[in-house]
Structures are given as structure tokens and as C-alpha cells.
């Protein structure tokens, strides 16, 4: 019971943060709302019994990635965004699309007979179990993902370097 109340509480914070992220006009407020979303998601994972995922969620997303977001916003000193009326296409197609999608998901979840609800805290998500999965069962996908991230980093370096610098190689006057 206590678990359920907490779960709903953090769920409400999560949704409120997500809505606030869209409503706020200042980028730094949006970034902070995103942090609130990440942190409340971590609390939800913790309540579901996945404590390792919860800790990693906080360390990686809230503690590292969002810090870079905030640094970027601070560096660019981004001001308030300008209000627009929004495109008519977004309203005409987007709102019904969201409604239809939500109804479909709810209907599927309620009417599939082979699905059953799992009590809160029933799944054990300790580091040992996750490590077994990552390094035995899903070793190849895990390693391939790391290569994917490496490629992304290299792409970022190439894009950020001045034109021609990559072809010339490292500058001699540095370090």
C-alpha cells in the first residue's frame, strides 16, 4: 500500500516534470524539469526493485548527461525562446494521433489475456543478476553498443574540428 502511494507520487512528479519541460519558455527551466523527470524515474525503478538501474539512472542521466546539457545552456547563455502559435498540422494530426495511440495502448494492455500484472518489488534487479545478463546472455549486443558509442564520439570529434584539420592530422604546435 505504502509502495503504491509512493509509486503514484513519483509517477505524478514524472508526468508533471515532463509537461513543465514543454511549457517552460526558458531552456534552463526545461533542463531542470528534465532532471526532475530523470530523478523521479529513478525513484520508480527503485520502487520496482531495480536498485542498480535506479542508481545508474541517477549517476549517468541526472548526474552526467544533464550536467552537460546545463553547461551547454550556460555557455551559450540561451535566452527565452519566442512564443509561436504552433503549426496547424501539429494540432490537426498530433492531438488525434496522441489520443488514438493512448487508447490503443490502454486497450491492448487491458485485453491481452496472456499478460499479468507484477506486484511492485517482485523483480530482483541486483547488480549480480544484471551483470550475468549483460556479460553472458547479451554479450554481443552489449559490446556492439559500445562500438556504436565510440563511432558517435568519433563523429562528434570530426564535426567539431575546424575544416581540414582531420585530413592534416594532429597539430604540431599543441602540447
Amino acid at each position: 500500500m505504502f509502495h503504491l502511494i509512493l509509486f503514484l507520487f513519483f509517477g505524478a512528479i514524472c508526468v508533471a516534470g515532463a509537461v513543465n519541460l514543454l511549457v517552460q519558455s526558458h531552456p534552463i527551466n526545461s533542463a531542470l524539469s528534465l532532471i526532475a523527470v530523470m530523478a523521479s524515474l529513478a525513484a520508480e525503478y527503485l520502487l520496482l526493485g531495480a536498485e542498480f538501474v535506479a542508481a545508474v539512472q541517477v549517476i549517468v542521466y541526472a548526474g552526467a548527461i544533464m550536467v552537460l546539457f546545463v553547461i551547454t545552456i550556460m555557455l551559450l547563455n540561451a535566452g527565452k525562446e519566442e512564443r509561436t502559435k504552433g503549426s496547424r498540422v501539429a494540432i490537426l494530426i498530433g492531438v488525434p494521433g496522441v489520443l488514438i495511440g493512448g487508447v490503443l495502448v490502454a486497450w491492448t494492455l487491458l485485453h491481452r489475456s496472456d499478460m499479468q500484472s507484477v506486484p511492485i518489488g517482485a523483480l530482483r534487479g541486483d547488480p549480480r543478476a544484471i551483470a550475468r545478463l549483460l556479460f553472458h546472455q547479451f554479450l554481443l549486443p552489449f559490446e556492439v553498443t559500445s562500438v556504436l558509442i565510440l563511432i558517435a564520439i568519433m563523429g562528434a570529434v570530426v564535426l567539431a574540428s575546424p575544416p581540414g584539420a582531420v585530413a592534416r592530422g594532429p597539430r604540431k604546435d599543441e602540447g
Binding site: 531542470l32 532532471i35 526493485g49 536498485e51 542508481a55 541517477v58 549517476i59 548526474g63 546545463v70 550556460m74
Partner: protein, 355 residues
């Protein structure tokens, strides 16, 4: 949920809540006292290093100085500049202090103690991912500083905030990696298990602490990164007074400034506790004497080791000059990080070879 101890489950829910409240109050008040007296220690030790007396007027040896400082901070005028972004300007010191104090919640101070019919671990809560919880909470503390720098709307503050966040994010990598060796040796993320794995001695006299057990390099990497994480000299560039006035807290006065100050010292205490637990064997030490003394000795050893680290902090601050910013970044990424990775590799290979 955090895993419950078998010993805790036997308690009724009311007893559990009462014991938890008592433990939280006790730990927080001890932490805040420790914070106040680290400031006193810092002033005293720095004075002795510079051949001065330090605080002497308020109480014997200036021991009541922290109280006087607190009263001064409360009664000073709390200036809020008109050009600041108010919501975040007010929230920033609160964020910094809250996360600095919360991170103490999973730190164990000693073994199981029994008082009458009730027993508890000397720890607010035992989580099986305790170390990750501390890292997660301290990584959130960076927002307090970054937002303070940005919301002050002042170029010195902004530069200080930027420096602080870049430095803390960079050194968090080597700090985290320096801990991996310890984790491999202990095979657990629970701080209590890590301490328990360090009991006993080699050859009858050298304690089996991780610092003497193959993790010496990791210990020094941790120590250096911890200084950078807490923005202490020689890594105190975020508040380098010769370049940035006072860095991220330039625009803060009275209690808001005091909150940043307390957060910094609370972080120092947490980092010292972690170093004690992970590398210096936590509460392990020689235990002797009558039963009451035997019950208190572990806590005494723990506090003594934490005190040693705080003293070391002060000592280093008045010994080493400040780094230049590019040196700081180059040192973090080109020296500490490869060393930490090498330490992880070698530790993993040796543990795998022995297994």
C-alpha cells in the same frame, strides 16, 4: 527497495520508524557538528602552519568560534542583487546543501549494536548498492554550484560555475574508476560488505586494508580526484580568488553563502568517510578492554581515520599552490584516467588468475 537486513525485519514497523528517526537525527547532528568543527580545525591548523594563533577569543582555544560564526551568518544582511534570476539563485544553495547532507545516509559507522531489546547497525540504512547511492547523490550536488554560477548573472560567477562543473564531471570519471579495483576485490557494492572484506591482518601485524592490499595506486587516485571533486586546493579553481573574486558564490551573502560553505565541508566529511571505508578498513582496528569499551572502539577508529583525512585536507591546502586550468584538465584526463584504467585491468587480471 533497498534490501532489508534479516535483523531489521524482525522489528515492528513502529519500532523501525522510531529507530530510523533517532538514527537520522543523531547522524545529521553529528555531521553538522563535524562540519562546524572542521571549519574550526581548518582555521586553527592553517594558523599554526602560518605561525599564527587562529581563533582564540571565543571560548577556550576558540572552540566556540563556529557558534559565533553561525550567529553572524544568521544576522547578516541577506543581499539579493536585482540582476539575478531569483528562483534558481535561491534554490542553488539549498540544492548544494541538501545533496551534501543526504549522501551521509548510507555510510556505515560501525558494527551491530544492541541497546536493551533493540539492536541496529550503526548506519541510517544499509543498501546493497550503497557505494552507487553515494556516487549518485554527490554527482547531483554539481547542480547547486553550476546553477549558482549561472543564476547570479555575473561573469565571475558564471566562469566559476563552469569551471566547477567541468572539473567535477572530469574527475568523477577517475574517481569512479579508482573505486572499481576495490569493488572487484570485495565482490560487492555494499559498503558494509566492503569493510567486512578488509578484516584481519597479514603476517600478524599489517592490517588487510585495501591500501596495503594492492590498491595503493587506487587510493592515491581516489585522494587526488576527491580533492578535485570537493573543489579544494590545489583544485580550487572554481573560487580562485585571484582571478574570479570568489567564483560561483560571489553574489551570495549571509546564510546563503554559509550554505555553500557547509555543503563544501559536508562533502569533505563524506569523501573522508568513503576513503576510510574503502581503503583504510572502516571501523577495523585493535579492540581491547572491558565490553563497553569494545563496543565503542570501532566507532572510535572510524572517527580517527576520518579525522586524519580532514586534517590531511587542511594540510594539503596550505602546502600546495593552485593548478592552472589547462594543467588541471590535462592531469585529470591524461594522467589520472589512464592510471585508473590500468589499475582496474591489473586488479581484474590478478583476481581472475587467483580464482
Amino acid at each position: 527497495m533497498p534490501h532489508q537486513n534479516t535483523k531489521d525485519i524482525s522489528l515492528s514497523i513502529t519500532t523501525f520508524i522510531i529507530i530510523s528517526i533517532i538514527k537520522s537525527l543523531a547522524v545529521v547532528s553529528v555531521l553538522l557538528t563535524a562540519v562546524a568543527y572542521s571549519v574550526w580545525l581548518e582555521r586553527k591548523v592553517s594558523a599554526r602552519i602560518q605561525n599564527r594563533w587562529g581563533p582564540t577569543r571565543v571560548g577556550p582555544f576558540g572552540l566556540l568560534q563556529p557558534l559565533a560564526d553561525g550567529a553572524k551568518f544568521i544576522f547578516k544582511e541577506d543581499l539579493t542583487q536585482p540582476h539575478v534570476y531569483k528562483p534558481l539563485y535561491i534554490a542553488a544553495p539549498i540544492i548544494a546543501l541538501v545533496f551534501a547532507i543526504t549522501s551521509i545516509s548510507v555510510i556505515p559507522f560501525g558494527n551491530w549494536v544492541t541497546v536493551g531489546p533493540w539492536g541496529t547497525y550503526l548506519q541510517i540504512t544499509d543498501v546493497n548498492i550503497g557505494l552507487l547511492v553515494v556516487l549518485g547523490i554527490t554527482s547531483m550536488g554539481v547542480y547547486g554550484i553550476a546553477l549558482a554560477g549561472w543564476s547570479s548573472n555575473n561573469k565571475y560567477s558564471l566562469l566559476g560555475g563552469l569551471r566547477a562543473s567541468a572539473q567535477m564531471v572530469s574527475y568523477e570519471v577517475s574517481l569512479g574508476l579508482s573505486l572499481v579495483g576495490v569493488l572487484i576485490m570485495a565482490g560487492s557494492l555494499s559498503l558494509r560488505d566492503i569493510v567486512d572484506a578488509q578484516g584481519g591482518v597479514f603476517w600478524g601485524f599489517i592490517p588487510r586494508w585495501n591500501i596495503f592490499h594492492g590498491q595503493t595506486i587506487a587510493f592515491f587516485i581516489y585522494l587526488i580526484s576527491a580533492y578535485a571533486e570537493t573543489n579544494r586546493t590545489p583544485f580550487d579553481l572554481p573560487e580562485a580568488e585571484s582571478e574570479l573574486v570568489a567564483g560561483y558564490h560571489t553574489e551570495y551573502s549571509a546564510m546563503k553563502f554559509a550554505m555553500f560553505f557547509m555543503a563544501e565541508y559536508a562533502n569533505m566529511v563524506t569523501v573522508a568517510c568513503l576513503a576510510t571505508l574503502l581503503f583504510l578498513g572502516g571501523w577495523h582496528g585493535p579492540i581491547f578492554g572491558p565490553p563497553i569499551l569494545q563496543a565503542l572502539m570501532p566507532v572510535f577508529w572510524f572517527c580517527l581515520k576520518v579525522f586524519f583525512f580532514i586534517f590531511l585536507y587542511v594540510w594539503v591546502r596550505w602546502t600546495l599552490p593552485r593548478f592552472r586550468y589547462d594543467q588541471l584538465m590535462a592531469f585529470g584526463w591524461k594522467v589520472l584516467l589512464p592510471l585508473a584504467v590500468a589499475n582496474v585491468l591489473v586488479t581484474a587480471l590478478i583476481v581472475a588468475w587467483r580464482a
